[in-house]
Each structure stands twice: as structure tokens, then as C-alpha cells.
Symmetry: C2
Subunit: 204 residues, 2 copies
């Protein structure tokens, strides 16, 4: 096994443990057991547990982002692209995605590397949406007086819906959360006279 492969294998195992037990409860020994190796090996490749957790979280979150970007490239229609973003951000097929983000947010206070990673990816998502809006503005299909602010708010609201869906998975059907998010999206897009008008403040 080359060093690169080994590193990747450790990150893989860490990811499985994180998804199974949550970030806070993932220990070096758990990861070692998951791989069937000794725990010392982990610190041979990663300076600290914080770094390892951050890198593992980075991988899933970055992959999610990359998959979304790839899917977006399939369409050049700005409004359709925004719809694709919503579909991907909801992550209806994974029930652990949002739990991981939740853990990362909460754990970030005590793990510097994880905090940095979580923030970087959050900003990447926000800027992706902002770019989507700007694209729509360039092609004249959207109007928006503050793309960054609107993008930030869209991310926030979707996070809130996903959060409650995770916290109350048994009370609220996941499909409901998705439907509502989609409904909000379409409302937020404010289809008016065939053009998309994204509002920075709801009260004009």
C-alpha cells in the first residue's frame, strides 16, 4: 500500500466511523479497529485527531459540492441550474449528510482544523449559489440587488429545514421537508412576469 493509498484508506475508515457514531464520538482507536490495524498507524499519517476528522469531513463535503457542480454543468439554463442546486442541497438520498454538518458545526468550537474546514465549505456553497444568481443576471433571466446576501439566506433556510428533518426524522417525513424546501425555493425565486426576481429584503 502506497502512502497515498494508506492515507485515503484511513480517511475512508474515519468517514465510516463518523457516519456511524457521530464526529464527537469518533476516536483514533475506532478508526484503527475499522481498518483492522493498530491505532499508532493513524498518528503516523495524521498529526492530530482534529486534522484527521477535518480531512474526512472535507472529503465528503467537497465530494458533495463537486457532484453538484458536475450536475450543474449539464444545464446551461440559469433557472434550471438553480433548481438542480436545490435538489442536490436537500440531499434526500443521504440521511447522514445533515447530521455530519450538524456535528461539524457543534464540534467546531473545540476543533480548530474542523472549524476551518466547515467554514471554508460553507462559504464555497454560498458562493456557488451567488455565482448561479449572477449567471442568471448576466443572461437577463434573474434580477437581484444583492446576490451574496440572497445566497447566504437561501443556504440558511435550507439548512434550517434539513436540520429539523434530521432532529425530528420520525415526526416529520423527509419528503415533506424536501417538498417544503422546494416550495420555498420556487417562492424565493419569485417568478414574476417570466423573470426571476431574487429579493434581498422581503419588504421592498
Amino acid at each position: 500500500m502506497t502512502p497515498e493509498q494508506r492515507r485515503a484508506a484511513i480517511v475512508d475508515a474515519t468517514l465510516r466511523v463518523m457516519i456511524r457514531q457521530g464526529i464527537a464520538a469518533s476516536t483514533a482507536r475506532d478508526v484503527a479497529a475499522e481498518m483492522g490495524t493498530s491505532s499508532g498507524l493513524i498518528h503516523h499519517y495524521f498529526a492530530s485527531m482534529d486534522d484527521l476528522l477535518a480531512e474526512a469531513f472535507d472529503r465528503v463535503a467537497s465530494d458533495d459540492l463537486a457532484r453538484t457542480v458536475a450536475a450543474l454543468d449539464a444545464s446551461s439554463e440559469p433557472v434550471e441550474r438553480l433548481a438542480i442546486f436545490f435538489a442536490f442541497y436537500i440531499r434526500a438520498d443521504e440521511d447522514w449528510g445533515m447530521q455530519l454538518w450538524l456535528d461539524a458545526w457543534s464540534e467546531a468550537a473545540r476543533r480548530p482544523a474542523l472549524q476551518q474546514t466547515s467554514r471554508r465549505l460553507n462559504e464555497a456553497w454560498q458562493s456557488l449559489v451567488a455565482d448561479l444568481i449572477r449567471d442568471g443576471m448576466r443572461s437577463g433571466e434573474m434580477t437581484c440587488d444583492a446576490p451574496d446576501a440572497v445566497a447566504w439566506r437561501i443556504i440558511s433556510l435550507l439548512d434550517g429545514l434539513a436540520l429539523q428533518a434530521v432532529a425530528h426524522a420520525d415526526l416529520v417525513a423527509r419528503e415533506d421537508a424536501n417538498a417544503w424546501a422546494r416550495g420555498y425555493a420556487e417562492d424565493e425565486l419569485a417568478l414574476e412576469r417570466g423573470a426571476l426576481r431574487l429579493r434581498a429584503s422581503h419588504r421592498a
Copy 2:
């Protein structure tokens, strides 16, 4: 010190520790040090650390709820009452309130008592909003085809905004989050022809 006073003092100290260090990093010894007593005392009053954390979280969250209910009673005007709710739920004066909820959500997976408490209070907030809407419907000032669903969605969206405001406190001014939440609120209330129409699905 009577047993009741001592219990309350322990909960008080736990609360201070929780706010300072986060729920996950709050230990029995920290609480004891905060009170200037021995750590054994804590387990004389609480069966487990999980129970203590749950009770401490219960206290803040219940107090927040009670304060909101008290403020609501000051107004009998349904629309005004909903506005009051929004103002209280944003919790602009406390910068730790949302962090505590975030910790509770994340930590709930590993602490049964905390999970139960967090869920109970979340449902209480949701049902408060639902009742507010039903009041408005009774007096004819609001129309809503699914008060519970709308209440759940309102809570979700506000949580999302508060969440991002906590995670990126330095990137996004708290006042912006509040302004947006308020803006969303007014939009959600959908003031139309002087009457409040609360939509269950955004797409009619």
C-alpha cells in the same frame, strides 16, 4: 441550603459551564469547580451527567419559552402576537442561545435525556406558533390550511438563519440575520388584502 436550593444551584452552575464551554465539554468536575464544591455532590442530586445536562438545558429553554408566552399575553392582537414571537425567537440579545440548541441537537444522539428534552421543547415552540396561527384564524385575521405544518416550517427557517449567524458570526452581522428573519416573517405572513394568509405549500 435546602435540597431544592442546592439542586437549583447545581443547575445554575451547570448552565454557566455549558454556556462557557459547550455542552459536550461540560464535565461534572467543571460544574463542581464552578460551585466551589466537590464533584461527588453532583451525583448526590443527579443520577447521571446526562440528566443534569438535560435539566440545565431544560431550564434555559423553558425560561425562554415562558418569557415569550408572557410577552405574548401582553397583546391580544393575533398579528401583533406573531410579530412578538418572531422578536423573541430570534434572541438577538443572547449570543449563546443558538449555540446551546446546536450543541443539544448534536449531542442528543449520545445523551438520551438531553434528546428527550430538546425534542420536547422544540415541539413546544412549534405548537406555540401553531396555536398563534389558530388564534388568528378564529378571529378571522388569518387563513391557513395547515397550521401545524406552517408552524413547523417557520421554526425551521428561523433556526436555519440563527444557525448560520452563530457559525459565521464574524462574516454575517447578527443584525442582518435578524433583519432577514423579520423580513422573511413578514413575507411568510403574506399580508394580502389586510388579512393574513399563511401558506402550507408555497405553490398553490
